[in-house]
């Protein structure tokens, strides 16, 4: 990761220097004579991205905030005269009996998924780093979960975990284990969606960590081997510390992705049974669209809580990145 971030910097410095030395003084004179056209050009170049940010980021965010601060009924949604109610929607969701379980499920879901995705991803990355025959093919196969559309993988998981006709229970019964109601029992549903999500998230961790491993010079391993360090020691003293910057970014990106996972849970359990696998993402959807009579206000409020959580971790990510750039 480190060389990757540094290379463009160096290049930009070079090009800047190059421009300064090669541009003769008349160019400066011309630039002074006609500053407006340059400025116009600068604005013209800025315009698309500014427009894009305003249209697709600022406005939707503002609308979502506005939705969460008003008391929307279907009638006032259409007429556009919803009264401003301040934080009433937020108080409503904090008092909702679903709030505490949803918070707990979101935290558990995110933490457990991250830990397993990272551990499995790292183990596989180290494994594939020793180039053996067919390792490239195998690695490509591991990417399949990532390439499949989520609706396909989630539906497949829900068939496999079906209580009565699923392959998982058939296998378990071959070992004499009684059927488990993976998706329909309140004590198992969260576990089931976590398993599916780990499976989907491993390839991302594998790919990023594998590319991180590639940048660790082999000479270090050779030197360690000469000093008599065994494989375990080499992993903990060379691989793991040198991989730390990549790990930090993988985990932080994974965290933001996992926090907002919706499709897998919705397709597999709809957040049920009895809210046992409801996270903030599914709860927000349930409030806003899951009912014939949509509750846009509270739905937007839950959505905003998610945005704030993701933002906090986004800021942490930026800070970590800056620290890395400095070091």
């Amino acid at each position: 990761m480190k060389p990757m971030t540094q290379v463009p910097e160096r290049r930009s410095v070079q090009s800047r220097n190059g421009a300064a030395t090669s541009a003769p003084s008349p160019a400066h004179a011309r630039a002074r004579r006609r500053p407006t056209s340059q400025q116009w050009a600068a604005w013209a170049f800025l315009a698309p991205v500014t427009l894009y940010l305003a249209l697709f980021y600022a406005y939707p965010l503002y609308r979502n905030l506005d939705l969460s601060l008003r008391n929307y009924t279907v009638r006032s949604f259409v007429q556009g005269d919803a009264p401003f109610t301040g934080l009433a929607n937020y108080r409503k969701i904090f008092d909702d009996p679903t709030f505490a379980p949803a918070l707990l499920h979101t935290a558990v879901f995110t933490a457990v998924c991250l830990v397993f995705q990272y551990a499995i991803g790292l183990a596989l990355a180290v494994f594939f780093n020793q180039n053996f025959r067919l390792s490239a093919t195998l690695r490509a196969l591991f990417l399949v979960p990532w390439l499949l559309p989520l609706i396909v993988s989630a539906s497949t998981w829900s068939w496999m975990l079906n209580s009565d006709s699923g392959i998982v229970n058939t296998l378990l019964s071959a070992f004499g284990v009684g059927p488990v109601n993976w998706l329909t029992s309140p004590s198992w549903s969260l576990t089931s969606v976590i398993i599916a999500n780990i499976w989907i998230g491993v390839p991302f961790n594998l790919v990023v960590l594998y590319s991180g491993l590639q940048s660790i010079p082999t000479s270090l391993y050779e030197a360690a081997a000469l000093d008599g360090a065994n494989a375990w020691r080499r992993f903990w003293s060379i691989t793991f510390p040198l991989l730390r910057p990549v790990s930090a970014i993988t985990l932080l990106l994974g965290l933001v992705y996992t926090l907002k996972v919706f499709d897998i849970i919705w397709i597999m359990t709809k957040g049920g049974p009895a809210d046992s696998s409801t996270t903030f993402a599914t709860w927000s959807y349930q409030l806003g669209f899951g009912n014939l009579l949509p509750a846009f206000g509270p739905g937007a409020a839950v959505g905003n809580l998610l945005v704030v959580a993701a933002l906090v971790f986004g800021l942490i990510y930026l800070k970590v990145q800056r620290k890395q750039a400095l070091s």
């Binding site: 050009a41 170049f45 279907v74 009638r75 259409v78 329909t184 049974p273 009895a274 009579l293 949509p294």
Partner: protein
């Protein structure tokens, strides 16, 4: 070199300008197609039948009605679950479609939002429609549309499985005899009954025949009758008469289980008739029995043809012509045959039964059925229904007893 760099810059600026104007042109073009075409000769129709593509009987009928009224039809099909929000958004933006065909429990929500015109305003004739079907589109003494067709739930049964288990279908008259039949089927090594108890409106829809069949009312979810209905389902799951997967079954997955040929009974709708013929086994249909005998009231499904409010009220006259064309007897017969629905008028129902005797039990069931938003529940129904399906899920998954689950459902509605 200076010149080239400047030229390059100009070119780049031009490209940017071209791209942005191109993009805005695209977006304005797109919004131009999504908003109602401004000209008075094009009328928009939104329907929840994405299964019918261009060139199907349904779109031909729409175009035919358009030609008859001397206008062009622009039809857009949506997924049912998507249509409510799309209709609300369109109304907010002031570009509702001229005609909106929408699932019946949604009508009262849209009416509450002030999106729909009443039949007093739009002069649509509803005199021939069966009152029990029309009730789903009525709220506060006003009618907001006319049904295009109706469907409801009943019990399909597999004749071979019942025969092997030694069950005579005529003995199944109430809950006790049904449970006894399920016990016999299980003893014979087959599977009992499948239904859908998923945590969405579908789950409530499937539970309602049992709920109403017990004598319970939607205004009191925690009544003893309601508890008895939920306990019936819970008992079936506990004894293995119904599979545990019903908790996540949609009506389609539940049908697939039945179509596998191992199940004796399946609770499903009129719309599966065509699939039932394809299933490759002999089947029959009985109404869902009520607790103490007789048929339970089942909820009506099916869509309403409505006319959303327009800024230009002069459009109503033509829209009304289109609605009358879509819902005249001849076209109703054709549409409801295509949709595998029961017609909303007695006259067309008779024609349907004459043409296909298999529809007889369904016509009877529809005659006895009841709208979910009827009894003037209107927009209270969605809230009640959400609590009802949650209670069903809690009880069936074992996280609460039927009594406690319904108790907390009732207190959440209040």
């Amino acid at each position: 070199m200076k010149r080239t760099s400047r030229r390059r810059l100009t070119a780049a600026v031009l490209t940017v300008v071209a791209v942005t104007t191109g993009a805005t042109a695209c977006s304005s073009g797109a919004s131009g197609t999504s908003t109602k075409a401004a000209d008075s000769k094009t009328y928009t129709i939104w329907d929840p039948y994405p299964q019918f593509s261009k060139g199907s009987e349904w779109t031909k009928l729409l175009d035919g009605c358009g030609t008859e009224a001397g206008v062009k039809i622009k039809r857009t099909a949506f997924d049912t679950s998507d249509l409510t929000n799309k209709a609300l958004l369109a109304a907010q933006q002031g570009n509702s479609s001229d005609i909106l065909i929408v699932d019946n429990p949604v009508v009262s929500t849209l009416a509450e939002a002030g999106v729909l015109t009443t039949t007093d305003d739009n002069k649509v004739d509803t005199s021939k429609v069966s009152p029990n079907l029309l009730a789903a589109g009525q709220s506060g003494g006003k009618t907001y549309g006319t049904p295009i067709g109706a469907n409801t739930l009943a019990l399909y049964y597999n004749k071979k499985v019942l025969k092997a288990a030694g069950v005579d279908i005529s003995s199944v008259k109430d809950w006790t005899s049904l449970t006894a039949a399920l016990a016999k089927v299980k003893a014979a090594g087959k599977k009992g009954i499948t239904f859908s108890a998923i945590g969405t409106e579908e789950g409530s829809f499937q539970f309602l025949p049992w709920f109403w069949g017990s004598g319970a009312k939607l205004t009191a979810l925690d009544s003893a009758q309601a508890t008895s209905a939920l306990s019936l389902w819970k008992g079936w799951l506990d004894k293995g008469y119904a599979p545990n997967s019903v908790i996540n079954n949609t009506q389609t997955t539940s049908w697939q289980e039945f179509a596998g040929g191992d199940y004796a009974f399946a609770e499903n709708g009129t719309w599966q008739l065509a699939n039932a013929d394809k299933a490759g086994f002999d089947y029959g249909v009985i109404p869902v029995p009520a607790s103490t005998g007789g048929s339970a009231e089942a909820p009506t499904g099916g869509e309403f043809v409505t006319m959303p409010v327009q800024q230009d009220t002069a459009r109503y006259a033509t829209s009304q012509k289109l609605v009358s064309c879509l819902t005249n007897s001849q076209n109703l017969l054709q549409t409801d045959t295509t949709l595998s629905y029961v017609a909303p008028t007695a006259e067309v129902q008779d024609q349907q039964v004459t043409a296909n005797a298999k529809l007889k039990p369904w016509v009877d069931a529809v005659k006895a059925a009841k709208g979910r938003t009827s009894d003037d529940l209107g927009t209270k129904y969605p809230k009640i229904s959400e609590q009802l399906w949650k209670a069903v899920q809690s009880a069936l998954s074992g996280s609460a007893s039927p009594k406690d689950a319904l108790g907390s459902a009732q207190s959440a509605v209040k």
